[in-house]
Symmetry: C2
Subunit: 479 residues, 2 copies
Amino acid sequence: MEGGTFTPLTPEGIRRIHLAALDALEQVGLADAPPSGIDIMTRAGAVLGEDGRLRFPRALVEDMLAKAAKGITLCGRDPRHDLTLGARRVHYGTAGAAVHMVDPHGREYRESTVQDLHDAARIVDQLDNIHFLQRPMVCRDIPDNREMDLNSIYACTSGTTKHVGISFSEPDFVEDGIGLLHMIAGGEAAWRARPFVSNSNCFVVPPMKFATESCQVMEKVIAAGMPVLLLSAGMATATAPPTLAGAIVQAVAECLAGVVYVNAIAPGHPAIFGTWPFLVDLRSGAMSGGSGEQALMSAGCAQMHQFYGLPGGAAAGFSDSKLPDMQAGWEQMCSNVLAGLSGLNMVYEAAGMHASLLGFCHESLILGDDIVGQALRCVRGIEVTEDAVSIEMMRSVCLDGPGHYLGEDQTLSRMQTDFVYPTLGDRTSPKEWAEVGKPDLIAAATARKEEILAQRASARFDPQVDAAIRARFNIHLPQ
Amino acid sequence: MEGGTFTPLTPEGIRRIHLAALDALEQVGLADAPPSGIDIMTRAGAVLGEDGRLRFPRALVEDMLAKAAKGITLCGRDPRHDLTLGARRVHYGTAGAAVHMVDPHGREYRESTVQDLHDAARIVDQLDNIHFLQRPMVCRDIPDNREMDLNSIYACTSGTTKHVGISFSEPDFVEDGIGLLHMIAGGEAAWRARPFVSNSNCFVVPPMKFATESCQVMEKVIAAGMPVLLLSAGMATATAPPTLAGAIVQAVAECLAGVVYVNAIAPGHPAIFGTWPFLVDLRSGAMSGGSGEQALMSAGCAQMHQFYGLPGGAAAGFSDSKLPDMQAGWEQMCSNVLAGLSGLNMVYEAAGMHASLLGFCHESLILGDDIVGQALRCVRGIEVTEDAVSIEMMRSVCLDGPGHYLGEDQTLSRMQTDFVYPTLGDRTSPKEWAEVGKPDLIAAATARKEEILAQRASARFDPQVDAAIRARFNIHLPQ
């Protein structure tokens, strides 16, 4: 599904942002690269200043943009879930590092667990409009970070055969994680042929500093053949400039530095241009993810990705509301539909996410499938074919026919092809609604969740593979 | 605020729809014009067929498009609420003919009353982002239609000084209604100088038939100097073609017939091109107003209005959900934000409307102010001025400064100008939210409603005028 009908940036605006980002790379540069990164990037042509900052001449940036992978495929463990990124193709999925699970019935926030994560993966596996699972929450019941990382991989990949995104906490954990992935894939060659897990690298600490450890993680996962998400998550007004355009400039500059970094290591390595500018509500200092400003920034970023011809991603669809209420609905739709219409390749945080990324909710994830389905219908747009605007049917209906379109062949066929029907969204009349007991939307989502989780988990590993994994690693999920 | 960044129709698509609409007017034409309308339109150049249908040669349509009012002003009773329509200027308001009031706490639907309508007017008067009040519900406690029409005018205009839209049920009621408006205005001359009420004319019964009585109403209100909304409300798959583009073609054709009609009576009379294509969910036969398809159709219509250079309106922002829940939120945002981004002049049904137009909810109206505020922020877009993308602040923050943007002068000034803050939308952290008792969104809206309705009604008429009105008409609202 291709977007492109929403263009908050003009061509002149895109060019201004591009030129400002190049200026920032050349004049401000980035601090705190690890020694390995300094070595890699200065050999490619970056300049290390006396202030310890790496600066990037624009010719270097342009060279690396030419080398960078344009269209890339993010593999699912099942190939029918493969995602082809590039142009204005739109995919939606989860993401984040929520620390709470939301219980919408009890209105409670509690610490998220590995079981919650696995359940989220199993739910995503069954939702038609959620195309990938990036780990949306951290397993707070696993205090050891190495074990948490490994169990996060296990919980996600054993729950869905869709593409999975994870994030290593420390460089030292990569080797074990890759070992686990080799076992799941059936060996290193099979893994490298179809890497079904990508790593989300928060490789910068905005403004304009590399995140030293995350860079070291990135070097290791690139060597292991893992696609990377180059994630720049500045907060407009705090760690990014206070204008929407300025925040995009900084995110673009930081991600361009990431493009230089990745392609200096491995030209053409699959990388997602992850401009994720967020923003802070200065009244409280809290993030506001549900705002119109957020929707605009993420959509504007999609246009920058298209300008560079690079596969890109940004955050949308998350809410500031604590519960799956009306506010959550309007916030989640606003940024999801604008991201899709702008042609954002990877819409991260698209479903289930509340409290400005602090809480994840399974019911909301399930309802998010309807939201994203509707957004995708908008992305598909209005087809103005000769057939669609033909007045032949109007002529026969009005001049010779019954005076309505209900029984026409085309009406029945269009009903199948042109209209999207929500799964849980309710379209009954007030009378019917009362007759069926005034169903509650959240209760319906809980019922759907329980139905999904009662099914056999189809993504589970072969028992022998699973036993071998459990023999090597401390897997917390029960067999 | 001007839209235009969302363009679901390509220029070629717009042209195809235009040409198909001209073909429909020339070949299919419209049945059921009243004798007066046949006389008016045939004298202008329309052709009456032996089948009783009026057909419109394209030269006639083009002539009348040239005569039609382009930019028009819809007056408020208070001039600061005047709305200037045309180009891609966006305004949001209520509309409809709901027969129920929604009680979101008791989850009940009950018959709507004149007091409910007056309360809605008083609430709209206080909401910054709701720019006009078209009567959203019918007064079911007034069985006599003439009294209902007069009391609807009274209930709306005495509740708000914003522009009001009403709809006369029968031609015979117009004279009394205009008499009432003259009294409110302070005489006929004052009324004609600034007509602060427009009439919504469902002047067609799709497909391609005039609504005889509504046409007679229209002739009378035009003579009385009242702006008209030329409303074509076909239902795709039932009374309009089953493709989104086809439904737009028919709505455009019908409204073009209306343009001929109005301008044959009074060249340049203020009229709103009211293409309101709806759609039916064929699984149930029920209307689906909350769908992505609805959002696309209304946005596509805005592009057609712009193509003709005429002030236009369409429906958006109404929900299929029975309650102000998460579904209502996502549905109301989807079509509201796309309508705004497309530059729709008049977004009708934008707030408070549920159950596919059958139920109106005061709490939802209040929350709709936040939804529309956010949509308007999206319409405003991303300003890519030289100042906004300047890297000077980035340079000083990163190279010489504190490493963040929090204390910068520009940050504080941008906080005032660039960011929209919701009134009831909650951005607290889970911790703060728990500390303040986990406030409920709907309860907060009810509190705001009670606060507004406890204030003195500032739009009330001068006591002498009011006494005169009550002496002449049976006004049901208490003094």
